[in-house]
Structures are given as structure tokens and as C-alpha cells.
Symmetry: C2
């Protein structure tokens, strides 16, 4: 299996040892996401040792609860081979293309169901960390209206034209329209699936998934061959939200998967946006509810990029780097950073008052500060942090 590390589609895997790849592939197969206990165990002892311990059954009751059902079946080699067969590879946290920045939001959420993946199967040409340096999720109903798909495609194209990566779930309706809009504008786009990256689901999107892989990435934490079970869509939605600085819901019924992505986006501290529509449309009712409970109303790509702002990752590539950490902040971030007391923690509402900004502007600024390691969130409040100190 040593061919994997040198395969054309997987240049970056060279950085990650074969042993780690096999361990992570095993872990993704045995622990059905989200697996918070397994995740913490892996973080504590490393992937290789954690996999060995799980295989032996020598683990805490909590980790056993997440892994005992499948621990005996080690299909790591087969999964890696199956991935290779479709030009896919396993992206590990040890890899430079791992989206570390976006995934810090999981620490922010402090929730057992909002945990990072143990690794990600990826198919396509893109570098996930780079793609998610400027990314917006565009999601919505499968049974979308013509208005919804038209609006999603316009947003996808507008965001791509503005240099944003459009992330979605490749589903029929809004998701597909958003991907197509991004591709039509020549931009990259990322599809996060609730099944294996080797499965064309939905079948009618086989061609679309191929085009997404050719321009960006098709991503999944489910092993090759995994079926899109119902609960996996909801679990998958957290990844769509976490990979992006903001999430736009284009059309959604009152109870829907898109609403779940929206809820995840809020709990992850990213910017939640929704597109309005006719009040008579049941497929806009969910969006209107989101806006009524605090989501930002957006009508075009420009309003989305204004709300999500620029990210730290971009700044790292600027030729003439700034001298002090605060030099890189935009006006809103600087005002919120100034408003944050050196030691005390404050709520978004307090900061909005102090900085003279709207709560949405404050949230957007805090997201930027958090990604730069200059603010952190704990127990519902924000506090100032010195970059490099690390979020605890």
C-alpha cells in the first residue's frame, strides 16, 4: 500500500506516515461520527496508539461505547484502496491541508455533537485548508422552488466571483444550484457528503460531483461505500457549517436539515445568514424564522462577503506582513478588539454597545479575531487573547 503516498492525486499525504493513515482510516470506520470520546482519546494518545487500544478493546467505557460494535473489523487497507480507485485520499489532522483554522470553531461550541472529524476522505484537486480560508456555506431545501434555485445559483456565482469557496452538501435543489453557480463563475467549490466519496449521491448529480472534484473537493468523514443514512445528513451538516466563516440558508421549510446547519453555524460562532422570499412560500418560512431569531438577512453575494469578512489565512499570504497583530484587523475587528477588556469576559450584546456596532457586526468581527487567536469564547462570553496563547 506504499503507493498511496506517491499517488498523483495525493501529493500532500507524503507528509503523513502510512501508519497514521491506516490508523485514521480504521478509526473513521469504527467510530460513527460524532464520536467525542474517541476524538479526545485520539487527541490525547495519538491516532496510532488510540487505534491499537481500540482494536484490543483496552479503552474507557465511553470510548468503548462509541467503538465496540465495529472494532474487530479492520478495513483500513481496503478503504484506502477503494479511495485510491476513485482518485480520493485520506486527509488527516497531521496534514498541512487540514483545515485547522475553521475547525477551531468546534472548541468554541463546546458541545458533544459538535466535534471535529477524526479525518476526512477527500476527492479532487483542491487543498481543503486553502479552500476554506475564504469559504461560505450555501445550503437549503432539496424540494426548492425555481426562485430558490435561481437565487442559490446567483449567490454561488457571486461568491465565486468574489473569491469565496462555496461549500454545500451536493443535494438536489439549493445545494446543487449553489455548486453549479460557483462552477459557472469559474470558482472552486466543496461538497461535503453524508456518504462515501465514491458514491454518486444523489445519482443525478454524478456529473456535478465529478465537476466539483475537478475544480475543488468532494469531502466526507464516512468511509468509501458508506450509505447516506438519514442521521448522517444531520451529522454531516456540522462540517459544512464549521468549514465556513458563514452559512447562508436560501430556502428552508420550518423543520428541515438546513435549519440544523443553521443552528450548527450559530453554535459554532460563525455568521448565520438567510435569504428572504415571498411570505406566501412555505420554503421561505424557515428562512424568515431564522431572520426573526437573529440571522442576518442577505439578498446578494456582496452582503454575504461583507458579513463574513476577511480571514486570517489570507493575511498570512500578504507580501508585506504587518508588524503588530492588531495591524491586520479591519475597522470592525479593531473596534471590537479595543472594546474587549484585558481580562474580563463580555457578551456580544455588551460588546455591541461598547463598540457602537450591531450584534451581527460584532459576531462577524469576533469570528475574525477568534481565527487570529486574538479573542476566545467561554461560557457564553468573549475575552481578549494574546495570539499564540492558544484556545484552551
Amino acid at each position: 500500500m506504499s503507493g498511496l503516498a506517491t499517488g498523483a492525486a495525493a501529493p500532500r499525504s507524503a507528509a503523513v506516515g502510512e501508519e497514521v493513515l491506516r490508523a485514521r482510516a480504521y478509526l473513521l470506520r469504527v467510530a460513527e461520527p460524532p464520536a467525542p470520546h474517541t476524538g479526545r482519546f485520539v487527541e490525547a494518545v495519538g491516532a496510532v496508539e488510540a487505534a491499537a487500544a481500540i482494536r484490543r478493546g483496552d479503552v474507557s467505557r465511553e470510548v468503548a461505547g462509541e467503538t465496540s460494535g465495529r472494532r474487530a473489523a479492520d478495513r483500513a487497507d481496503q478503504d484506502l484502496a477503494a479511495a485510491r480507485a476513485v482518485q480520493a485520499r485520506l486527509l488527516c489532522p497531521e496534514d498541512p491541508a487540514w483545515p485547522n483554522w475553521p475547525f477551531t470553531s468546534f472548541a468554541l461550541a463546546q458541545s458533544e455533537d459538535l466535534v471535529p472529524p477524526l479525518a476526512l476522505w477527500v476527492r479532487g484537486v483542491g487543498d481543503l485548508a486553502e479552500l476554506c480560508g475564504r469559504a461560505v456555506a450555501v445550503v437549503g431545501a432539496r424540494a426548492a422552488t425555481g426562485y430558490g434555485t435561481h437565487t442559490a445559483a446567483e449567490l454561488g456565482a457571486g461568491l465565486a466571483a468574489a473569491g469565496q469557496t462555496v461549500v454545500s452538501g451536493a443535494a438536489l435543489g439549493i445545494d446543487g444550484a449553489a455548486h453549479r453557480g460557483a462552477l459557472a463563475a469559474g470558482g472552486p467549490t466543496v461538497a461535503v457528503l453524508a456518504c462515501g466519496v465514491d458514491r454518486p449521491y444523489p445519482e443525478s448529480h454524478t456529473g456535478l460531483l465529478g465537476r466539483i472534484a475537478a475544480a475543488g473537493l468532494v469531502v466526507s468523514e464516512y468511509p468509501p461505500g458508506a450509505v447516506p443514512a438519514r442521521h448522517r445528513f444531520l451529522v454531516r451538516n456540522r462540517l459544512i457549517a464549521a468549514l465556513c466563516a458563514g452559512t447562508v440558508v436560501v430556502e428552508a421549510a420550518r423543520r428541515s436539515g438546513a435549519r440544523r446547519t443553521a443552528s450548527d453555524a450559530q453554535r459554532l460562532g460563525t455568521v448565520l445568514m438567510a435569504v428572504p422570499g415571498p411570505v406566501s412560500s412555505a420554503l421561505s418560512a424557515g428562512c424568515h424564522e431564522l431572520i426573526r431569531s437573529g440571522a442576518l438577512l442577505v439578498t446578494r453575494a456582496e452582503e454575504v462577503t461583507e458579513a463574513t469578512g476577511r480571514l486570517g489565512i489570507e493575511l498570512a499570504q500578504e507580501p508585506d506582513g504587518p508588524q503588530r497583530p492588531t495591524d491586520v484587523l479591519d475597522a470592525g475587528q479593531a473596534r471590537v478588539h479595543d472594546a474587549l477588556p484585558p481580562r474580563a469576559a463580555r457578551t456580544v450584546a455588551w460588546l455591541a454597545d461598547e463598540a457602537g456596532l450591531t450584534p451581527d457586526q460584532v459576531r462577524s468581527a469576533l469570528t475574525g479575531l477568534e481565527r487570529r487567536g486574538m479573542a476566545r469564547f467561554q461560557d457564553g462570553r468573549w475575552q481578549r487573547q494574546t495570539p499564540g496563547e492558544g484556545a484552551s
Copy 2:
């Protein structure tokens, strides 16, 4: 002219003396609204004395600036007669039907262009104070779409069914649809005009204006025969906003009269709401901008009444009155009242944080508290007030 006080259409004028009626009729003719200096002068010395001083030219430079152009022409008798000819009458601040409660919001706005009228010409069967005890303004574009007029009519009917008075400007498009919806549901409705109450404007609404008068009131601060000059629409809009606990904008282009009513509503401290629509519609763009800058998104009458809440006027009529002022508060008002410190003044954002409510919920609660004399607004902040202390 003593017949006026005993005319069938004007039973309540009996409470106001002939001399005051003539003075106020004169003042409305000579001082083009808004006339803040004249208003303060009238409040200080009384209508009769103020009218006499203005007639003589024996007034401050500021009052002279607002009145000197027309002071010589005393047409009070003719105006009162012209009103009588169309079953209209002059409603004065001395009259029990004067909307004292709603107009306290003018004091809140502390603006030279947001001042109460010196009196109001009214045509119809309704009691303005009673009608505006539970009133919502529904306004919007003249060149409305089918979607807009349908939604306005639905809202008008829904609000009327919920016992609210629908207040609007009787214009083509949204205004007319809102009035019609209210009438269709058997509710009263109030039209505030930018011309004399004897002028059918727009002409195609002659029948509608008659039906509004028969079920509610047609109101104007402009004397009989006054033409609807362009600037009068904007000046009139403040009255629509001030008479109501909240204003709903149904459709509006980016720059429009409805936006002005919206701005007045906010400055008057009442609840501003807007109806979303397709992002592709230029006539929803103004509504979307309003929502993006803080207006509450509403999709149906129930959401409107929830946001505007119950008013103090209603409570005064409850058979078994409450014992303490705070007993009458709803849950949101009670929480905001609790959050208000006894002496210090706070911003809406601070109160939202403290009370655990959204800024919109806080604003809505504060409006209710303000109308009950339990909170007051000064220099951008709110503070607690003991009822009966009066807003200074």
C-alpha cells in the same frame, strides 16, 4: 357657527369651546406643519391667546417665521363650514378623543420635524383616541406589485380580525390594499391624508375614502381644500407613525416615502416592521434594507400583534384593575423593567444582555413601558420612571 357643536357627526366637539375651535382652525391654516415653534407657543399660552398674538404679529422671530406668510388671512369660519359640509369636524387637543397616548411619542423623538399637529380635521364616525389605542400602520409603495397588494390586504384583514385599527395613507398600492383588507374583515381603519379631508385623493379612491369614513376616520392636519403638495406626504407620514404602536412596511423601493415613515417610526420609538419578498424584486429591496438595519421581519398579522403588544389604554378599561403598576406588564416588559436600574440609564443593547431578550423584544417592551410612564428615553438611553411622574 354654533351649529357645529351640536352636529350629528361631531358629538364630542361639545367639550371644546367655539373660541378654541376657531383659534385652532386659524392656526392650522397659518402654520404649515411641522411648526415646532408655533406648537410650543400654543402649548405655553393656549390656542386662543396664541392665535390672537399671531394675528397681531406680536410673536417671537421663530413663531413669526412659521406664520407671517399667512397670518392676515383668517379663514377659520370658512374652514369650519367647509368641513361641516362633508360631515367633518376639527378635533382639538382639548377634546377627549385627542390621541394623547400615541402622541407622547413625539416628546420621545425630541426632533424639530417630529412634532404633534396643532389640531386634526377628522371625517367619519370613529373616536381617534379609541381607534389608536390598538393601532398598527401598514404602509408601502404606490406602484406595488400583486404580491405586495395581496400581502397588504391579508395583513390588513388579519390585524382587523385581531382587533387592531389599520392606519395608512389611502394612497394607491399598499395603502389602499391595507385599508380594503381591514374593511373586508369588518374592522375600522384610519386614513391620514396629505390634503384636505374634503378632497378625494387619489380620485380613484373616492369610494374607498367614503367607506373608511363610514367605518373609521379620514384624518388630516391640512385645512379643507388643501392640495396634496409633494412635501406634505413626508410631513403627513409622521402622523401615521405616531398614531400607532408599530409600523409595517409592506413594499418599498430603496428611496421612498414608506422609508420615511419607517424612519419616523424608529425615531418615535415605535416598533418598525417590514415584510420580506423576493430578493429579485426592486419593491422589496427597501424592506430588506430596513430589516438589515434592525426592523423586525414580519410575515403575518400574528407576528405584528405579538411585536406591538398590548397598550396602556386598554388596561385602563379592564374591569378588575391591577393593584400595582408592574402587575399589568407582560413577561417581556416585566423582565426589561426588572433590568432597568433604579437610577442609571441604559442602552437597548445593555438591557437585551441583562434581560436575556433580543434587542427587538427589548424595544417592543420599552415602548409598552414608555406608554405606561414606567420608562423614559433620554440621550440614547432608557431609564426607569415612576408612573405619573411624567416624561420630562
